[in-house]
Symmetry: C2
Amino acid sequence: MGKEKVSFNLKTPKGTKDWFGSDGLLRDRIFSTITEVFKRHGATSLDTPVFELRDILAGKYGEDSKLIYDLQDQGGELCSLRYDLTVPFARWLAMNPNVRNIKRYHIAKVYRRDQPAMSKGRMREFYQCDIDFAGANYDPMVPDAEILRIATEVFEELGWKGCYTIKVNHRKILDGLFEVCGVPKEKIRTISSAVDKLDKMPWVDVRREMVDEKGLDGVVADKIETYVVRKGGRELVESLQSDEALLANPSAKTGLEEMALLMDYLEAFDILDKISFDMSLARGLDYYTGVIYEVVTEGSAPAAAPSAGEEAQKIQKKSKGKTKNDDDDDRSNDPSIGVGSIAAGGRYDELVGMFSSRAQIPCVGISFGVDRIFSITKARMGENNRTNKLCDVDVYVMAFGGKGFTGLLKERMEVARRLWDAGLKVEFSYKRKPKPIQQFEAAEANAVPFAVILGEDELAAGQVRVKEMGLDKGHPEKDGVLVNLSTLAEDVKERLERKKTAAAAAAAASSIDADEGGIAKKIEDLDVKEE
Amino acid sequence: MGKEKVSFNLKTPKGTKDWFGSDGLLRDRIFSTITEVFKRHGATSLDTPVFELRDILAGKYGEDSKLIYDLQDQGGELCSLRYDLTVPFARWLAMNPNVRNIKRYHIAKVYRRDQPAMSKGRMREFYQCDIDFAGANYDPMVPDAEILRIATEVFEELGWKGCYTIKVNHRKILDGLFEVCGVPKEKIRTISSAVDKLDKMPWVDVRREMVDEKGLDGVVADKIETYVVRKGGRELVESLQSDEALLANPSAKTGLEEMALLMDYLEAFDILDKISFDMSLARGLDYYTGVIYEVVTEGSAPAAAPSAGEEAQKIQKKSKGKTKNDDDDDRSNDPSIGVGSIAAGGRYDELVGMFSSRAQIPCVGISFGVDRIFSITKARMGENNRTNKLCDVDVYVMAFGGKGFTGLLKERMEVARRLWDAGLKVEFSYKRKPKPIQQFEAAEANAVPFAVILGEDELAAGQVRVKEMGLDKGHPEKDGVLVNLSTLAEDVKERLERKKTAAAAAAAASSIDADEGGIAKKIEDLDVKEE
């Protein structure tokens, strides 16, 4: 290790960042909310290596394979950084043929050598939060419905009530209606991807792409229009089920039956009101074989040209005809997860079979775009609610004294130890004789709620002073209260509990206001910033 | 995405593994225990990218730099996978000159292209758990003492009471005594690393290395022996402080003063009994500048030739003269963390300055070898306590019925939804008409404690059956009890609470036995397996 000072390029690699402080705290809170929901549904965590054998990733991502990070050939196996969490899961399933039914979740970073757009949250290293149910031991749409239920629980518990919609469609309905309308078989995928743009451009432009660029018969395009502009709930399924042309197509028929079943199950799960059956939703990936879905919020579908003073409208209406970011969240094939929709997924029954012909395991899952969820949540919190605090400390142990004051360092340590023993989060100054102002500033910087103050006379009487930080001047306990050392930990715990209860009550009261447009307002602010 | 089945090499890359199921659950529990302790001391999480610019890592790991994984040059910056968490932290500190005092923790994977030894827990991708206190605003040994307190809290809360010792030494004492004994300045580092082997080989061999291989005067070596074989507590510090030759050396004098101070602070933190001042502890890394330490357990220092029937001895005595694995846990320089000692660290005041001359920030920290801690903990749990369960599910919702039974799928979904709404962890069969045996087997496979059983007649009366799994045949509640749907969630929560309380009481009772040698026995078993 040389002693000379070298001049370094002091930065993180392009498209990567350090997570620290309040951003890291907020992100961890999002992770733990999501994990808690996953566990509530019996899911188990799977942790795979950050790199895979290069062959495992080859041929899974089409032309986006160029975005894969390769490790240098240093002798031995050729490896690449994982590009998503779905392919490693499929590899694991193929390697573990005894596992026939599994609910697995995985929260980890993935890597894509794309052009980063930090302000939009598009990074080269970013987190994905995936949950997938694999296994053949199920009847149609039961696990699929539970995945959608999981999506609602995640967003409800993140506090997004009323601020999100789950768009749902079915690959078999889509394929069937293209056949019924007369789309030639070889054009179905490309016409499907044109339809998927309906949330970004008006029908006339989509039609032009189909007819002028992709050579579709105009009559066929017009037939397609009658279907794909439709969105709704159960009544739309029923209306389509009385469409004889559609019903004559086996794929569409199966798809509609499954969709009706799904609606039934979503009703049992009490989430029907969060669902929009949207016939224009197509999703980019080839590997979906059944139901597909995408969670959108106002924040993920900003207006093309937001008109000031535009009246608040229901999300479902709003999303129609609006422009959304090009960077659509697509769990594997699209390098820009987390910028458009905030979660997306679907059923993919044939991916595992690509690794092993012995292991054909049907799967259904969803991927949450944490970076986008993080940005929106942070914007929603507003400037006022943001803190610079780095951690949640309960107590700062201080000492004051007059002339000849020793600093009471060992005594502060002993008191800290008592409180640690009781499970409390405690800090104290590392100086032998810290000034009062230094100790108060350190406590305030982290918004520590309570100070325990040591004084020589009080200590001699076996007592210390417990002071709640930030009390008004006139408050009777402004200068703290004397507490016996023997009951100190208990006393502080009770005070913390009381303070938390009061804060929760205050938050509940203020969230009533926030629901009245406050959150939507914040999300709109975010969109403006991102343009 | 081609449709052809390709033959894949279905494996993870060499030296890496998937973490799943009960192993993953246990590891997560270790992580959360450690994180909780870290947070109790006001630490904030820092998450850095998995790869760094190649220049950042260059020149930090001496000849072990050959073990660094490089990313392929695909255009743009040259990057490498991180080798430890300390250098990224130092890079972050140098990049954030406004941060002058910080307690940060980081739990993440690091990468070393070493020869893997899976059975010993030596992997190419493995976890490190680091906590480091950086900043100049402290008086000597105060943060150092808190780091040692953190080490004890971690192992106490992992249930290792009485099963570990923290060996402590000070670089300044070591350097001073080498000077006093007459070691030429340029030989101090190499003689120091010979001394560090005293826990692996007897003095005669270490002396031979010093004299024959390293050309040290035999008289000097004999003087060294009088010091480095000594270990003890406070009394050893005091005895050395009356050694006039040592006191005349400024480095040794400072080191001893700091050591005495450390002992004072460790007493205030009530952990003096876990500490062994061990003059042979030298640690490999060049960058340590002050106190150094290493946590050992019987499991991390196996006997060179374990004699059957050897009486149990106090750890401190045991570790003397025993062979420990060559794979010493060294936080940055040794590629095999987590095999020898179970945690290690020290003070390094000059590392950050290698990145920026403006940022000379003193640091002290410790790294926990989670893989080793995992292996020992798993062995301690014993075969009997191990389960194959993949997740902690509270309730399995079932339905039974006679002829014409519909399966009550939607009803099961509704009941599951009620319980999820109450925050409970719930599963049910994804089949429309599951057989009773299938449902029971699914619940038993995950050791789910309670079943909620739906029957058509009972449902009509607004009731379901709550059944505790695994009750004996004669138990009065063997067949479950009828509960109103409206109070179901509450009822199940109460039962879960009661069951947990009972289990905790039973565990407390049995742990008294375990402490009486049970744990040590298990650790010895592990050593045998690892030989």
